[in-house]
Assembly symmetry: C2
Homo-oligomer: 203 residues x 2
Amino acid sequence: MTNQSKMKVYQEVLNQIRQFIEEQELKDGDRLPSERELSEQLNASRASIREALRAIELLGLIETRHGEGTFLRTYKPYHSVELLSTFVLREVKTKGELLEVKFLLEQVCLNQLFADEQWDYSQVEDILFESNDIHTDLFLRLFEAYGNRLLLKIWHLVTGFVETVDPKEVNQVQYEELLKLISQRQYNQALDHHASLYEKQCS
Amino acid sequence: MTNQSKMKVYQEVLNQIRQFIEEQELKDGDRLPSERELSEQLNASRASIREALRAIELLGLIETRHGEGTFLRTYKPYHSVELLSTFVLREVKTKGELLEVKFLLEQVCLNQLFADEQWDYSQVEDILFESNDIHTDLFLRLFEAYGNRLLLKIWHLVTGFVETVDPKEVNQVQYEELLKLISQRQYNQALDHHASLYEKQCS
DNA sequence: ATTTCGAAAATGGTCTGACCACTAATCGAA
DNA sequence: TTCGATTAGTGGTCAGACCATTTTCGAAAT
């Protein structure tokens, strides 16, 4: 490494990798150079390269496949998120906080959609009742409909965390009701109904 | 390692370390066993131990001091912000998206506080006008007052992102106005005022 | 010419042992 | 007792080896 400062090698590697990704405009699913290639190109030992890669992996930014390579990761909930959560939960202890944030994010999404006259509810209406996880799939669509990808990403992340600590039990009927309220544009009642879905758990 | 499943060694090590921390009831500032000790105790190579430690370090959960050891430290969400941002921003193309999320999070915080009859505004009122970054410090306090640490962390994360792309210019006077509205419990106007702070930029 | 299958190459996963750099504890001399 | 140098302990880094898995590719069979 051109270890100019006293920064650790693996930190430098981290920066180099980030830079590489930006320059090459790599996207999710694209493959990174092999560990041995990176080792040569960045002039660092393979051990240091791996330390950097393991760190980014735990953050959920890359995915490594034995015998294949290292790939920028398409987001998959509960992969390494589980490990992450066991540590972070040391701080954010209460399950309630997690659920509350998830709830609030969803509420924001609903509020924003309801405030939009142009919103086409039909995007959500169809198919939905073949899902194994109605809640997640429903809000996945709602967040997509709203269109803010960062908000979606944050919600997705939080949802991933929640699933590691909270085996949920969904009641299909309640979501039929929620959808009905939305389709009838009874937005206030829909918001109340959404809140009621969380009331039991958040305490 | 008792590598029963196909889980990677460094992930097992991660779990073991977490378990160790819980069992020993280690607190912030306490020292972890040395890498060589962990290597023996967990029956894994030092390289694998280090991969695990580097990962937790990047998360900001531990701190390593050359020649001294590895220590637990208070979780600092900003630690990996810079790295994370460059990855997340790959997908978040528009600055507007970023600002919108920041705004929405703050709005949620205000709404929740305003809805709380018990909320003691005086926690926020004081000192504030000596700050270099009024907006950040104000909402830092507001989020702290609300008390959901996860929400605070997310907001902090997003705020960190924003600062990497948006050199802000704050107008002190506007925040005096905002605080006045809050202290007078003119909540709707306060919300409008908060929104107006973003209107120019979000487009 | 096409298909099939196995060897070889590429890649990640892990370990060992070495050496350096820094820190703190130790011990001996003033 | 005090001060300073030695020493032991610890993280930082490296080189090289071997294994497990996946892909590649060419030779053999069809």
